[in-house]
Protein backbone atom coordinates (compact mmCIF):
# COMPACT_ATOMS: atom_id res chain seq x y z
CA UNK A 1 0.00 0.00 0.00
CA UNK A 2 0.89 3.67 -0.03
CA UNK A 3 3.39 4.86 2.55
CA UNK A 4 5.51 7.83 3.60
CA UNK A 5 8.94 7.51 5.19
CA UNK A 6 10.63 10.16 7.27
CA UNK A 7 14.00 8.75 8.26
CA UNK A 8 14.86 11.16 11.05
CA UNK A 9 12.86 11.18 14.25
CA UNK A 10 14.81 14.09 15.69
CA UNK A 11 16.97 16.73 14.01
CA UNK A 12 18.92 19.14 16.21
CA UNK A 13 20.49 22.21 14.62
CA UNK A 14 22.16 25.42 15.60
CA UNK A 15 20.37 28.62 14.62
CA UNK A 16 21.49 29.91 11.23
CA UNK A 17 22.40 26.51 9.78
CA UNK A 18 20.49 25.04 6.83
CA UNK A 19 17.58 22.68 7.40
CA UNK A 20 16.83 19.55 5.42
CA UNK A 21 14.17 17.08 6.51
CA UNK A 22 13.86 13.95 4.43
CA UNK A 23 10.66 12.53 2.99
CA UNK A 24 10.23 9.65 0.58
CA UNK A 25 7.05 7.94 -0.44
CA UNK A 26 5.69 4.82 -2.09
CA UNK A 27 2.57 4.71 -4.21
CA UNK A 28 1.24 2.91 -7.25
CA UNK A 29 -0.43 6.08 -8.49
CA UNK A 30 1.41 8.21 -11.04
CA UNK A 31 0.05 11.53 -9.75
CA UNK A 32 0.64 11.79 -6.02
CA UNK A 33 -0.03 14.97 -4.09
CA UNK A 34 2.57 15.68 -1.37
CA UNK A 35 2.25 17.88 1.70
CA UNK A 36 4.33 19.15 4.59
CA UNK A 37 2.44 19.92 7.81
CA UNK A 38 4.01 21.64 10.82
CA UNK A 39 2.90 21.29 14.43
CA UNK A 40 4.26 23.62 17.07
CA UNK A 41 4.13 22.66 20.73
CA UNK A 42 0.58 22.64 22.11
CA UNK A 43 -0.85 23.50 18.71
CA UNK A 44 -2.55 21.55 15.94
CA UNK A 45 -0.91 20.59 12.65
CA UNK A 46 -1.23 23.17 9.89
CA UNK A 47 -0.29 23.08 6.24
CA UNK A 48 3.16 24.39 5.35
CA UNK A 49 3.64 23.31 1.72
CA UNK A 50 1.99 21.21 -0.94
CA UNK A 51 2.84 20.08 -4.46
CA UNK A 52 1.81 17.74 -7.22
CA UNK A 53 4.04 19.10 -9.98
CA UNK A 54 7.17 17.14 -10.77
CA UNK A 55 10.47 19.01 -10.43
CA UNK A 56 8.84 22.32 -9.47
CA UNK A 57 10.04 24.13 -6.33
CA UNK A 58 7.30 25.15 -3.89
CA UNK A 59 7.99 27.81 -1.25
CA UNK A 60 6.24 29.16 1.81
CA UNK A 61 7.41 31.02 4.91
CA UNK A 62 11.06 30.53 4.03
CA UNK A 63 10.74 26.77 3.54
CA UNK A 64 10.85 25.06 0.18
CA UNK A 65 10.44 21.60 -1.26
CA UNK A 66 10.55 20.02 -4.70
CA UNK A 67 8.62 16.92 -5.69
CA UNK A 68 10.89 14.49 -7.53
CA UNK A 69 8.87 11.61 -8.91
CA UNK A 70 12.00 9.91 -10.23
CA UNK A 71 13.26 9.41 -6.68
CA UNK A 72 9.84 9.52 -4.93
CA UNK A 73 11.07 12.30 -2.69
CA UNK A 74 9.75 15.58 -1.27
CA UNK A 75 12.44 16.85 1.10
CA UNK A 76 11.82 20.01 3.13
CA UNK A 77 14.56 22.65 3.17
CA UNK A 78 15.31 26.05 4.57
CA UNK A 79 18.49 28.03 4.09
CA UNK A 80 18.82 29.27 7.67
CA UNK A 81 17.12 27.78 10.72
CA UNK A 82 15.43 30.03 13.27
CA UNK A 83 14.56 29.25 16.87
CA UNK A 84 10.88 29.57 15.96
CA UNK A 85 11.22 26.72 13.44
CA UNK A 86 11.41 24.24 16.33
CA UNK A 87 8.39 22.01 15.79
CA UNK A 88 7.17 18.61 14.64
CA UNK A 89 7.08 18.28 10.84
CA UNK A 90 4.94 15.74 9.02
CA UNK A 91 5.25 14.72 5.39
CA UNK A 92 1.99 13.42 3.93
CA UNK A 93 0.66 11.89 0.73
CA UNK A 94 -2.71 11.81 -1.03
CA UNK A 95 -3.28 9.44 -3.91
CA UNK A 96 -6.34 8.49 -5.87
CA UNK A 97 -9.46 10.51 -5.20
CA UNK A 98 -10.35 9.64 -1.62
CA UNK A 99 -8.84 12.67 0.03
CA UNK A 100 -7.17 10.39 2.58
CA UNK A 101 -3.87 11.75 3.84
CA UNK A 102 -1.17 9.23 4.65
CA UNK A 103 1.28 10.69 7.16
CA UNK A 104 4.87 9.83 7.89
CA UNK A 105 5.90 9.35 11.52
CA UNK A 106 7.10 12.94 11.76
CA UNK A 107 10.44 14.64 12.37
CA UNK A 108 11.00 16.83 15.39
CA UNK A 109 13.22 19.79 14.57
CA UNK A 110 15.00 21.39 17.52
CA UNK A 111 16.83 24.63 16.78
CA UNK A 112 19.32 25.72 19.42
CA UNK A 113 20.87 29.15 19.94
Amino acid sequence: GDSVTQTEGLVTLTEGLPVMLNCTYQTIYSNPFLFWYVQHLNESPRLLLKSFTDNKRTEHQGFHATLHKSSSSFHLQKSSAQLSDSALYYCALITGNTGKLIFGLGTTLQVQP
Partner: protein, 112 residues
Protein backbone atom coordinates in the same frame (compact mmCIF):
# COMPACT_ATOMS: atom_id res chain seq x y z
CA UNK B 1 -12.23 31.76 7.52
CA UNK B 2 -13.60 29.08 9.75
CA UNK B 3 -12.94 27.14 12.88
CA UNK B 4 -13.03 23.59 14.15
CA UNK B 5 -14.03 22.98 17.74
CA UNK B 6 -13.55 19.75 19.63
CA UNK B 7 -15.18 18.79 22.90
CA UNK B 8 -14.12 17.95 25.47
CA UNK B 9 -10.57 19.28 25.55
CA UNK B 10 -9.57 16.69 28.15
CA UNK B 11 -11.29 13.34 28.69
CA UNK B 12 -10.55 11.00 31.54
CA UNK B 13 -12.18 7.60 31.46
CA UNK B 14 -12.18 4.23 33.15
CA UNK B 15 -11.14 0.96 31.59
CA UNK B 16 -13.99 -0.54 29.57
CA UNK B 17 -15.94 2.70 29.45
CA UNK B 18 -17.59 3.98 26.28
CA UNK B 19 -16.41 7.49 25.52
CA UNK B 20 -17.61 10.00 22.94
CA UNK B 21 -15.65 12.84 21.37
CA UNK B 22 -17.33 15.57 19.34
CA UNK B 23 -16.18 17.80 16.51
CA UNK B 24 -17.86 20.78 14.85
CA UNK B 25 -16.68 22.82 11.84
CA UNK B 26 -18.07 25.97 10.26
CA UNK B 27 -16.00 25.89 7.06
CA UNK B 28 -18.90 24.21 5.27
CA UNK B 29 -16.43 21.48 4.29
CA UNK B 30 -17.71 18.21 2.88
CA UNK B 31 -15.04 15.88 4.26
CA UNK B 32 -14.21 15.35 7.92
CA UNK B 33 -11.60 13.13 9.56
CA UNK B 34 -10.65 11.66 12.91
CA UNK B 35 -6.98 11.00 13.63
CA UNK B 36 -5.19 9.56 16.61
CA UNK B 37 -1.81 11.05 17.52
CA UNK B 38 0.61 9.04 19.63
CA UNK B 39 4.14 10.12 20.32
CA UNK B 40 6.48 8.60 17.74
CA UNK B 41 3.67 7.03 15.73
CA UNK B 42 2.57 9.94 13.60
CA UNK B 43 -1.04 10.70 12.76
CA UNK B 44 -3.19 7.66 12.10
CA UNK B 45 -6.57 7.88 10.42
CA UNK B 46 -9.43 6.32 12.37
CA UNK B 47 -12.51 7.28 10.32
CA UNK B 48 -13.41 9.79 7.69
CA UNK B 49 -16.63 10.97 6.08
CA UNK B 50 -17.01 12.57 2.66
CA UNK B 51 -20.55 13.77 3.22
CA UNK B 52 -23.38 13.71 5.74
CA UNK B 53 -24.25 10.14 6.84
CA UNK B 54 -21.20 8.73 5.04
CA UNK B 55 -18.54 6.76 6.94
CA UNK B 56 -15.24 5.33 5.71
CA UNK B 57 -12.86 3.28 7.81
CA UNK B 58 -9.28 4.36 8.20
CA UNK B 59 -6.31 2.25 9.19
CA UNK B 60 -7.14 2.31 12.91
CA UNK B 61 -10.92 1.88 13.01
CA UNK B 62 -11.03 -1.20 15.24
CA UNK B 63 -12.26 -0.25 18.69
CA UNK B 64 -13.97 2.90 17.43
CA UNK B 65 -17.31 3.98 15.99
CA UNK B 66 -18.11 7.24 14.26
CA UNK B 67 -21.17 9.20 13.29
CA UNK B 68 -21.64 12.08 10.81
CA UNK B 69 -24.89 13.48 12.05
CA UNK B 70 -24.85 16.51 9.81
CA UNK B 71 -22.43 18.25 7.52
CA UNK B 72 -20.92 20.35 10.28
CA UNK B 73 -20.45 17.67 12.93
CA UNK B 74 -18.56 14.39 13.27
CA UNK B 75 -18.47 12.30 16.44
CA UNK B 76 -16.08 9.55 17.46
CA UNK B 77 -16.82 6.87 20.06
CA UNK B 78 -14.21 4.79 21.83
CA UNK B 79 -16.23 1.61 22.30
CA UNK B 80 -14.21 0.24 25.23
CA UNK B 81 -11.42 2.32 26.66
CA UNK B 82 -8.15 0.48 27.25
CA UNK B 83 -6.36 0.82 30.60
CA UNK B 84 -3.37 3.19 30.60
CA UNK B 85 -4.33 4.46 27.15
CA UNK B 86 -3.14 7.99 26.45
CA UNK B 87 -3.48 9.76 23.14
CA UNK B 88 -4.59 12.94 21.43
CA UNK B 89 -7.51 12.71 19.02
CA UNK B 90 -7.54 15.28 16.24
CA UNK B 91 -10.50 16.17 14.08
CA UNK B 92 -9.92 17.71 10.65
CA UNK B 93 -11.93 18.87 7.67
CA UNK B 94 -11.27 19.67 4.02
CA UNK B 95 -13.25 21.10 1.13
CA UNK B 96 -12.15 19.43 -2.08
CA UNK B 97 -9.92 16.50 -2.95
CA UNK B 98 -6.24 17.43 -2.51
CA UNK B 99 -7.24 20.51 -0.55
CA UNK B 100 -5.72 21.57 2.70
CA UNK B 101 -6.94 19.79 5.80
CA UNK B 102 -7.69 22.05 8.76
CA UNK B 103 -7.23 20.56 12.21
CA UNK B 104 -9.07 21.15 15.45
CA UNK B 105 -7.31 21.70 18.79
CA UNK B 106 -7.60 18.07 19.84
CA UNK B 107 -9.04 16.01 22.69
CA UNK B 108 -6.52 14.51 25.07
CA UNK B 109 -7.65 11.12 26.38
CA UNK B 110 -6.39 9.46 29.54
CA UNK B 111 -7.72 6.10 30.69
CA UNK B 112 -7.16 5.15 34.31
Amino acid sequence: GGIITQTPKFLIGQEGQKLTLKCQQNFNHDTMYWYRQDSGKGLRLIYYSITENDLQKGDLSEGYDASREKKSSFSLTVTSAQKNEMAVFLCASSGLNYAEQFFGPGTRLTVL
